[in-house]
Symmetry: C2
Subunit: 445 residues, 2 copies
């Protein structure tokens, strides 16, 4: 088999299951690709080849011995370095956690192992999954940012180093890097994936999500990790959505009506990106209608930052006072914004954000899904930033499923993603619309 | 039938169902009892006899016509005046809402009507369900407070004016008045009863709950209102607990082991109440073990007030600035405490409170339920206060089911309640333990 590292996870899992490919071979080829490119791309912060190969061989033996298979048996997955791993350090992109070795796997890693995945290594996160970048570069253009905070997870999947990875999103940390790196990215409905053993910034805003190179793969890994965890109080009682079978049942699905939403932050998009999104929306013809978000959304971004900055002032209080030299200037600036906030401002911002969760549901009375920019433009040619998350905050705040579909190109030929949004709990619909758009292709302008 | 207003709700519903009693007769007798005593007790803020009798007659006709019966068919219920009612004003115990007439029933009232209940009238609440008292007096001793904030709901059930009522608890507003007035009071697991159309103070802390004169009646009304509401985002997906059948199945239940918890606020109890609780615990012999809450609970009361005061500063911002003369001094003092709180303090207090929800679960590894004071003593002989909620805050904050069992007497012969607490979701266990204690009786000192 040529280039097994380029297979989708669904293809790789099937090939392993029927003996056409071993997990060891797949992992070796992923490691070889990493070895070729890592010096330039810098997607990984911890990678122990022997550990990865040991996992793969054990899974190959289990398969030969006829042991029960998980849906990801033998498939490697990259893990953003904010999720605890019992056999690898978890360093949160911060010198404060240099060399930290957790005792127990995080919930999401535990579920991936249960599904038979090889935990290939830990991918680069920005400092504490916030704005200060790590070493990762955009695999499409090494002068450009991959986005963040899930920088390594997005870049590794984009560069065929691993077919699947786990990221996280508090503002736009999954969908935006997906757009910049040209991969599928999926932030499920709030409460769908356990956050046990994840470094939390904000209980109200933090989401676990995933990267892949196809919609089917998003569903495959989604099903493996959308399982309720009694140790995570904020989870849905029934997070499982049967995404793979849902997508299979919707094989003939075509959306009746889609909503194009510029959103209140439209002015923050580059002109050529605005044009690309408008042209694409126009190309969909009668199926698409443009809608405006109600005025309650005008302050969504501001409220998002109130909630997050207040949390940061609480979470990093000790570090800010005792070891400020270990925090980036960007993080310190956010904490400094959070410190003077009044508790009543936080109550109000949270109440307004909670209200938007209901308002957003009504958008979908007449539409299958919302299409909106995944990012304000191509990845900036600047490695000191991870770009602007303004187009993601509203949807994160509302807890709705959001998917990056890597469908468009900017004027420099860099990827530009379409963000597909569905109501809470209708993750299958978001995936089905994404697949339909992807199959239809992006070249209709 | 003599004195139908003294029947339990379960007895009254059965008598109505088999034609031994009409809803009209029951309502007439409740209204007569109210007419006798209301000038002294002051439990009601809105009572329209014709409206109540119209509802009762309509339900009697429906029964004669063979229409489907709800579990509360024909049984009157009093509603704390913070729940919207489409046919009665809802005034929140505040001059700011004098004469306010909602357009739509609150969720809990809607469910009660669906179960066939007669909405008898609106009971007195303290100002906005906080500390400033209304006109209600304790029916056992008119010089004493009935407790609050559910003052009228507790007093009306205690005085046989109505067999059932609805209250609310943010700190100790259901269980404490239950203790002071000598009635059963039940605050279910957080998220069990819809808060749509209720005047909210704090999403994190507000609970809907009920009063009755027997454990069976708590289960009867609990089943009628523990139904999920898509308009209340904070509800459990499956709040229904089948309390009535659960209790019936546990008819032979006896607890194996109970925990006596003094709690970190033990020093706030009166000496004679401390003695009464200790004597009672001792009377239970080998079945009871004393446990101490872990040190994380030492700050529970302080955190509770941080969360609540921050919410009050947000909720009443406009009133505090524009119409302060319309707010009580007690409320203004709380708002004044809330205004200077930092957002990060609120984040920390909420995180600690959320952590206690998990810690409290572990208490029940070796015990069926916790027994702890429902109040720091008898109802104070002071109508300017509603008493001290310190013994209730921890359990409210943890979202666990808490029941007042009116089992003891203080040195002045006033009621003194035992608070029975079970883990979240095990409301049936809390009810079964309460019934066992009640049947066993209080005179074992």
């Amino acid at each position: 088999m040529d280039d097994p590292h380029k297979l989708s996870a669904t293809e790789a899992a099937a090939a392993i299951r029927c003996g056409d490919l071993s997990s060891e071979m797949l992992v070796r080829r992923c490691l070889a690709k990493i070895s070729d490119r890592e010096a330039e791309v810098g997607a990984w912060i911890h990678l122990d080849e022997n550990n990865a190969l040991d996992q793969a061989r054990a899974l190959d033996h289990a398969l030969t011995a006829g042991h029960a298979l998980g849906s990801l048996h033998g498939v490697p997955v990259g893990i953003k370095d904010i999720y605890d791993t019992a056999d690898m350090p978890t360093q949160l992109g911060s010198p404060l956690h240099h060399g930290r070795q957790p005792e127990r796997d995080s919930g999401v890693v535990e579920l991936l192992r249960r599904a038979g995945a090889v935990i290939l290594g830990k991918t680069v996160t920005t400092e504490f999954a916030l704005s200060h970048p790590g070493k990762t570069r955009n695999p499409h253009d090494l002068r450009r940012t991959p986005g963040g905070s899930s920088s390594g997870s997005a870049a590794a999947v984009a560069d065929d180093m691993v077919p699947l990875s786990v990221g996280s999103q508090t503002v736009g940390s999954i969908v935006r890097p997906g757009s910049f790196c040209g991969v599928f990215a999926y932030k499920p409905t709030f409460g769908s994936i356990t956050r046990r053993g994840m470094n939390l910034l904000s209980r109200r805003l933090d989401h676990v999500g995933v990267y892949a190179r196809s919609v089917e793969d998003l569903a495959l890994i989604g099903d493996a990790v959308m399982v309720t965890d009694p140790e995570d109080d904020d989870m849905l009682a029934h997070p499982g959505r049967n995404l793979v079978s849902g997508l299979a049942n919707l094989v003939q699905f075509a959306p009746k009506r889609l909503a194009f939403v510029r959103s209140p932050v439209w002015d923050q998009a580059d002109e050529d990106a605005q044009r690309a999104y408008e042209d694409y929306a126009r190309s969909l013809g009668n199926i698409i209608g443009e809608i405006e978000l109600p005025p309650e959304f005008d302050r969504a971004l501001e409220d998002h930052h109130i909630i997050l900055n207040a949390c940061l002032a609480a979470v990093f209080k000790r570090e800010y006072e005792e070891t400020p030299q270990q925090l980036s200037d960007k993080l310190k600036a956010r904490i400094a914004l959070g410190i003077p906030l009044a508790a009543s401002e936080l109550v109000d911002a949270t109440d307004r954000a909670d209200g938007r969760r209901h308002l957003v549901d009504r958008l979908f009375d007449d539409y299958d899904a919302v299409l909106t920019p995944a990012a304000p433009g191509e990845a900036p040619a600047d490695l000191t930033t991870t770009g602007n998350a303004a187009f993601n905050a509203i949807w994160t705040q509302c807890g709705v499923p959001a998917i990056n579909v890597p469908l468009l190109k900017g004027s420099n030929g860099m990827p530009l993603g379409l963000q597909v949004v569905a109501p809470r709990g209708r993750d299958v619909k978001a995936l089905a619309v994404s697949r339909w758009l992807w199959r239809r292709g992006g070249d209709h302008g």
